[in-house]
């Protein structure tokens, strides 16, 4: 083989560089496309829904007339469902994560739990809806209530919370535990006063990401048969609901409800274009909720990475 001349070598190098740059451009293009989708989505919803961003929209119930319809029952429902979800998923998820990192011995039970959690994360969300329809709604007789929906979403986001708890706990160095135990603390005292507080930012990030996922979930809640047309609010504790009868403290958990995603789905699937406007406005409100939750989580994680140095 003849050695290449200088010009030929230069040509080879130039070709390599050109290909590198071409690929770089492709990478930037793909990222830009992703960004474009986000921008187009938000812009479309803001422009279409602009007329509906009034106080009335937030304070009106759903209506057959598009211009009078609002999202009151939807956003109240979403908040209440999230409350149940958080109350169920956070203690369970943190406890499970704590157990797996601090207590679990390496045995088949631990292995089973770990494999199970990673597999659950891949189960489609609608399957959780079927689970809940069979177990919570009919077997436990909870009906199509806020409680059923909250528990369904809690099971759905449990793997997210467990995984982030474990990651947060794992990043705490062993010397913290050793120091605590050296002065006589038990394992639980070590967890209670050291591990959980130090892991808190990481846990919180996971909880927020989990809840942001849950608030946008539609399929499992439709599957349990949540109504789409709700023109009332769940009973407020201790207020009169009918003649001489006051609502109990927890009556609201058994109430029928609707949530933001279902309201959007309902409006999107109507043929009347007037409802498109409502869907756009409600979609924007939901996006704003989800994105601000995600932004808080991203910020928390960023903060955490900067501040903690063991």
């Amino acid at each position: 083989m003849k050695p290449l001349t200088t010009e030929q070598i230069r040509a080879v190098i130039a070709k390599g560089k050109f290909r590198d740059n071409l690929f770089k451009a492709m990478g930037v293009f793909c990222l830009a496309l992703a960004l474009l989708v986000i921008v187009a989505l938000i812009a479309d919803m803001v422009i279409k829904g602009a007329d509906r961003f009034t106080l009335d929209f937030f304070l009106n119930f759903a209506s057959r007339r598009a211009t009078q319809a609002g999202i009151l029952s939807a956003w109240v429902g979403s908040l209440l469902v999230m409350l149940v979800t958080a109350l169920a998923a956070v203690p369970l998820g943190v406890a499970a994560g704590l157990y797996l990192e601090e207590y679990a011995k390496r045995n088949w039970i631990t292995n089973l739990i770990e494999i199970n959690i990673s597999n659950l994360a891949a189960v489609p969300s609608i399957v959780y809806g079927l689970l809940s329809l069979g177990i919570f709604v009919y077997q436990f007789g909870l009906g199509q209530s806020i409680l059923s929906a909250g528990l369904t979403l809690a099971l759905l986001i449990l793997p997210i919370i467990i995984v982030s708890t474990r990651e947060a706990i794992r990043s705490i160095p062993a010397m913290i535990r050793e120091g605590s135990m050296a002065v006589g603390a038990t394992r639980w005292q070590t967890c209670r006063y050291h591990i959980i507080p130090y892991a808190m930012p990481g846990i919180l990030t996971g909880v927020i990401i989990g809840l942001a996922r849950a608030i946008g979930e539609t399929a499992p809640i439709i599957t349990i048969g949540a109504l789409t047309f709700i023109a009332f609010l769940p009973p407020v504790p201790y207020t009169e609901i009918s003649e001489g009868v006051n609502a109990g403290l927890f009556d609201w958990v058994m109430s029928p409800f609707t949530v933001m995603p279902i309201q959007i789905f309902n409006w999107t699937s109507r043929p009347d274009p007037a409802f498109e406007v409502n869907a756009a406005a409600a979609g924007f409100v939901l996006m704003a909720m989800v994105l601000s939750m995600n932004a808080i989580a991203i910020y928390l994680r960023y903060k955490m990475r900067k501040n903690i140095k063991w």
Binding site: G16, R19, D20, F23, K24, M26, G27, V28, C30, L31, A34, V37, I38, A40, L41, M45, L92, A96, L98, Y99, Y103, A104, L112, I113, N116, I117, N119, L120, A122, V123, P124, S125, L130, L131, G134, I135, L158, P159, I162, T186, I209, R213, I215, G216, E217, A219, I222, T223, G225, P261, I264, F265, T268, A279, G283, L286, M287, V290, L291, N294
Partner: protein, 311 residues
């Protein structure tokens, strides 16, 4: 602190009692934590129990052979047919469209971020991808039906108002962040010395990325693709909104069709009595869906084990 007189200290039996109490409490707490961890196993058992028990009722009325071979899916009509292939075709076609978008785009972004981009670009790009992954699927469904479909109709006037294509395209965009971030993690785990070796031999960045880094990270890439497939197969709202819900045995993405997931939504929206055959079909459909995702997951684990490279 209090005085340290010997008389102030608790007696031996008091301390033993205290220790016993404390040990008991420790055991109790450990038990509670284990219970919390076991909830996840119970969830799995619950899913399997519900799907299998309702499906058994279903298969007492419909033979498995009909279920797998019939070419019509009309469970709520008088002339009922239960051919799951109809729903599977919709699921596979839309997933395929999604993957044709997501795999090239996600992999390109991953290679770019891991091999080419400097840290400033990465700091901006990662949150953007995370935000994209965080958008609720119902919003994507809205986007597919009311933005992407009209755009497609502009270029192809014969496109119907609902189609697997527009749902699949948007679903692909939705999946990009999963592939990008998992693949990037896998490629960043490839040791620097391998890249340096390639550079020392005169490789360009692109050549190194494609011929050294990607093969070394292939098990991670495969895992991310498998996860993407699971997401696509299990995705519900985009399809329920934008693909129409008519059962339609087709391999043409430009047609409307129902998928396994959108069928479940359609039935759940109606008011089917508990225990009816229509009610049971959604569990049989759900079981099929779970088996499909399970199959892909097992395939993924096998691929990962086969091509795993340790450095």
């Amino acid at each position: 602190m209090s005085a340290n007189n010997a008389s102030d200290l608790p007696g031996v039996s008091d301390r033993l009692a205290f220790n016993a109490m404390r040990n008991w409490k420790e055991k109790l707490i450990e038990g509670l934590l284990l219970t919390a961890a076991a909830i996840s196993v119970l969830t799995t058992l619950g899913i399997v129990y519900v799907l299998v028990s309702e499906s058994i009722h279903f298969f007492q009325n419909v033979s498995l052979f009909d279920f797998l071979t019939d070419t019509q899916w009309t469970p709520l009509f008088d002339d009922a047919h239960f051919g799951i292939m109809v729903l599977i075709s919709g699921t596979l076609v839309s997933s395929l469209v999604a993957l044709l978008v997501a795999i090239p785009m996600g992999t390109t972004i991953a290679i770019y971020l891991s091999e080419f981009a400097d840290s400033r670009v990465r700091e901006v790009a990662k949150p953007i991808l995370e935000l994209l992954g965080g958008i609720p699927t119902i919003v994507f469904g809205y986007f597919a039906l009311l933005v992407v479909t009209p755009i497609l109709q502009f270029f192809f006037p014969s496109m119907p108002g609902f189609s697997l294509l527009s749902a699949g395209l948007v679903m692909g965009i939705m999946i990009v962040p999963y592939i990008a971030s998992l693949s990037e993690d896998a490629m960043r785990a490839v040791p620097m010395s391998m890249r340096e070796g390639a550079y020392a031999m005169g490789s360009t960045k692109l050549y190194t990325a494609i011929h050294v880094v990607v093969p070394a990270a292939i098990s991670g890439l495969a895992a991310s693709y498998i996860l993407a497939i699971s997401r696509a197969v299990g995705e519900t709202m985009i399809l329920a909104v934008a693909a129409g819900m008519q059962p339609n045995l087709t391999w043409n993405p430009a047609e409307p069709a129902a998928t396994i997931t959108s069928y479940i939504v359609q039935v759940a929206l109606g008011d089917l009595p508990h225990g009816s055959i229509g009610y049971q079909t959604i569990f049989a459909a759900g079981l099929t869906l779970l088996l499909i995702t399970l199959m892909f997951n097992i395939l993924g684990q096998w691929l990962r084990a086969k091509y795993r490279e340790n450095y």
